[in-house]
Structures are given as C-alpha cells and as structure tokens.
C-alpha cells in the first residue's frame, strides 16, 4: 500500500514490466534515435491531419508496450494517458480500439511522469493488477494548436524549444522484471512570473526545483545517491536555471547527476533547428 512520507511524497512499489517509444524523423536522427521501437519518417504518418498522426504514434507506442509486457489490452485494468491536444484527442483516439478503462490526464510537459505516478499508485494499492501509462506529442500538431501555422513566416527565438514528434508508453504491475517506481512526489504550481511564451524552460525550472527538493527531503536522500536525476523538457535554458535554483533555494548540487530529456533527445550542435532543446508530454 502507498505510504505517505513527509509532506509531499508517497512511498510505494510498482514495476515497469514493459515500455515502448516511437518517434519521428528528427527524433530518429538524434542521439537516442536507435532506442526507438519504431520510426515514422513522414510527419503525417500516412494520416490526413497532424492530430491523427499523433494518435497513430500514440496507439503504436501503447500496443507495443502492452505486447512487450506480455499482456493483451483486455488485461489492463486502468489506462492513464494524456497529451496536449484539445480534449486529449491524441490519447482518446489511440485508446478507442483497445477498450481499456481510460483516465485522461492533461499535465502538459509532466504528463508521462504523472501517468507513471498514477499507474504506480493504482497498481500498488491494488486498484489495478496491471496499469498502462502513455503520452504523445507532435511538432506540427503542437505548432498548429499553440503557436503559428507551419508555413507562417516567423522567426524562432533562441530560447524556443522543439516539440518532439513522439509517443511513449509503459505497463506497470505489482511484480515482475523491470525498473521499479519506489516513491513519487506530485509537483506544485510554481509561478516566478515568466511571461515569455518562448522560454518554457525558464517558466518550468522553479517547479522542477521545488519537486526535486521535496522528493530528496522527504526520502532523506542526497543527489549523490542517484545515478541520474532526470527532468522532462527544461531544455538548455531551463536546465541552467534549475541547477542555479537548486543551489540557491535548497543548497543542492545537482550538476553531476542532472540530465534533461529535452537535451538528450536531440543534438543541439548539429540539429540547430531545435533551438534550446526538445519538449513534449
């Protein structure tokens, strides 16, 4: 059963018994490209809209993860999934043919971590024998919904990040082989007054710092106890700010263990179009 330790953290135990990730062309050309289970070279993935393309990637990652866990969709008791499109259509259209009970999440860049946390909770407290966690994002769909049309002639600022065309999914169970989820801390909204919509890393860094500090405090651990402390998509600017904030606000030296997925996904030197790093759900 989950046990509350400290003010912000829940101690529990769940195992990720299967996982899959699929991505687009830019992601495949990045340093993690060979780790992808499937690559979609065309941005439309053979579909008529960017939204449908995102759904296709989402469904692919989800079915692959369930298969790699050695299960069928019928054996998944709860599915926690989300994306950033209106009404989570990336997720709901992906989940439509699979028939799993779906809990839709809208956590923006934190969606995958949130889904993993919820799935781990469900599995650990016995609410589900097996739970799935999934998310997706698509560069073109995100630009269309939140920024400008693709053919619009605007300039990207140096702090702008590149929304990943990718989807990821995991299956969690109480027992099995795979990485464990041992404890979770849910983040708070930390608004430091950043108004630049093209500097998302700077807007998110304070919340990342707050969550990491709470987790380390509640679990009684130090940064050096970990091989890696990963953030989702702070990018180059947000990562720099996180390290400074952690030092100033919590006295934590994260530099040696901190990695950011948005910086791992692309090679900022050769893939210059991605700007300050990747972003995604």
């Amino acid at each position: 059963m989950p046990e509350r330790i400290g003010a912000r953290t829940l101690r529990l135990d769940a195992v990720v018994t299967g996982g899959a990730a699929v991505g687009g062309k830019t992601e495949a050309e990045g340093p993690l490209g060979r780790q992808l289970d499937a690559v979609y070279p065309e941005a439309d993935a053979g579909e008529k809209s960017w939204e449908k393309a995102e759904s296709t990637l989402h469904a692919d990652a989800l079915t692959r993860a369930i298969a790699k866990a050695g299960l069928t969709p019928q054996q998944i008791d709860l599915h926690f999934g989300g994306d950033l499109l209106d009404q989570c259509i990336g997720t709901s259209f992906a989940a439509r043919p699979l028939g799993m009970p779906l809990v839709g999440l809208y956590g923006a860049c934190s969606t995958m971590a949130l889904a993993l946390a919820m799935a781990a909770l469900a599995v650990d407290c016995g609410a589900a024998q097996a739970a799935a966690a999934s998310t997706s994002s698509h560069f073109c769909a995100a630009e269309k919904q939140f920024r400008m049309p693709l053919e619009y002639g605007g300039q990207r600022t140096p702090t702008a990040q590149w929304t990943a065309t990718a989807a990821g999914a995991a299956v969690l169970r109480k027992q099995g082989r795979g990485p464990h989820v041992r404890a979770i801390s849910i983040g708070r909204i930390c608004d430091y007054g950043v108004k630049d919509a093209n500097n998302m890393g700077a807007a998110m860094a304070p919340a990342a710092c707050d969550t990491i500090a709470a987790f380390l405090h509640d679990t009684g651990t130090q940064p050096a106890d970990y091989d890696c402390i990963l953030t989702g998509d702070l990018g180059a600017v947000g990562s720099t700010l996180l390290l400074q904030l952690a030092q100033k606000e919590a006295g934590l030296a994260l530099a040696s263990v901190h990695r950011d997925c948005g910086l791992l996904l692309y090679d900022l030197k050769t893939q210059t179009k991605v700007g300050a790093g990747g972003s995604g759900c």
């Binding site: 693709l150 702090t159 700077a202 600017v237 904030l245």
Partner: protein, 146 residues
C-alpha cells in the same frame, strides 16, 4: 532561501541566449529592400507593357501578394522568412503569408470551420483595427479638414 521574482528575472536573462540583433537588422534591411526593389521592377515592367499609373498601383501589390501566396503554398516562404525576418513580414508579402498559411494549416478541419473560419486568425487583428482606424480617421477628416 526562495529566489525573488526580480532575482529570477536577472538569472533568466543571464542564461537565455540573446537574439542576434545586428544580424536580424541587416537581414531585414536587405530583404525588405529587395521586396521594394522587386515592386519597383514590376512597376517598370508593367509601365513598359503600357499599363497606366492607376493600373500599375493595383497590379504591383497584387503581384506581390500572388507571389507570396504561391511561395507560401509551395512551402518556400517560411524558409525565406526565417532568415529575412521583418524584411518579409512588414511589407504586404507578410500579410499575404499570414492569411494563406492558416488557410492551408486548417484545411484539414473543413472548408467552412477550418479554412474559412481560421484564415484570419493572424491577420484578423490587422483587418479589424485597420478598418476601425480608417473609419475613425474618415470621420475626423470630414469634421475637421472639410
């Protein structure tokens, strides 16, 4: 100790790479000038073909609009504008691109609610306030000048 909003603002500015001001200004100057030169060139061409001045004043902007719309549709305009910046944004070419690009982007949502409803999502404010300003100045002109 919590970092204050002002201090964070300073930290943010220090870690955010600045825009390339000089390069952007130069690119905008050259490309904006090139668009104007193209307009002049077209004007001279139409004059040589025998078009009257009134007709040329209509033909030149229409030609530039058509050209930007075509380049937008071919997927070239955004690549040019990424370098040219304000040099392509400020002239009438930018306006054409701002209408055609959402029209293309939202075509997947249908002719009416997609292309029709969304094509002015960027240019809409310019049209609304431009028309309002024109009406206002018209009234002022009537009352004061005449």
């Amino acid at each position: 100790m919590a970092v204050s909003g002002k201090e964070y603002e300073r930290m943010m500015q220090a870690s955010s790479p600045p825009t390339w001001l000089l390069r952007n200004l130069l690119c905008a100057f050259v490309s904006g000038g090139a668009v104007c030169a193209l307009g002049e060139g077209l004007g001279m061409l139409y004059a040589a073909l025998g078009a009257a001045q009134e007709t040329r004043r209509l033909l030149v902007p229409c030609s530039l609009i058509l050209l930007s719309a075509l380049l937008t549709a071919l997927g070239v305009y955004d690549k040019l504008a990424a370098v040219a910046g304000a040099g392509l944004l400020v002239p009438i070419t930018g306006f054409a691109n701002a209408v055609v690009s959402p029209a293309m982007e939202f075509s997947s949502e249908g002719r009416i609610l997609g292309t029709g409803a969304q094509m002015f999502r960027i240019a809409g404010p310019v049209l609304a306030y431009g028309t309002a300003a024109a009406a206002l100045y018209g009234v002022l002109y009537e009352l004061i000048v005449r």
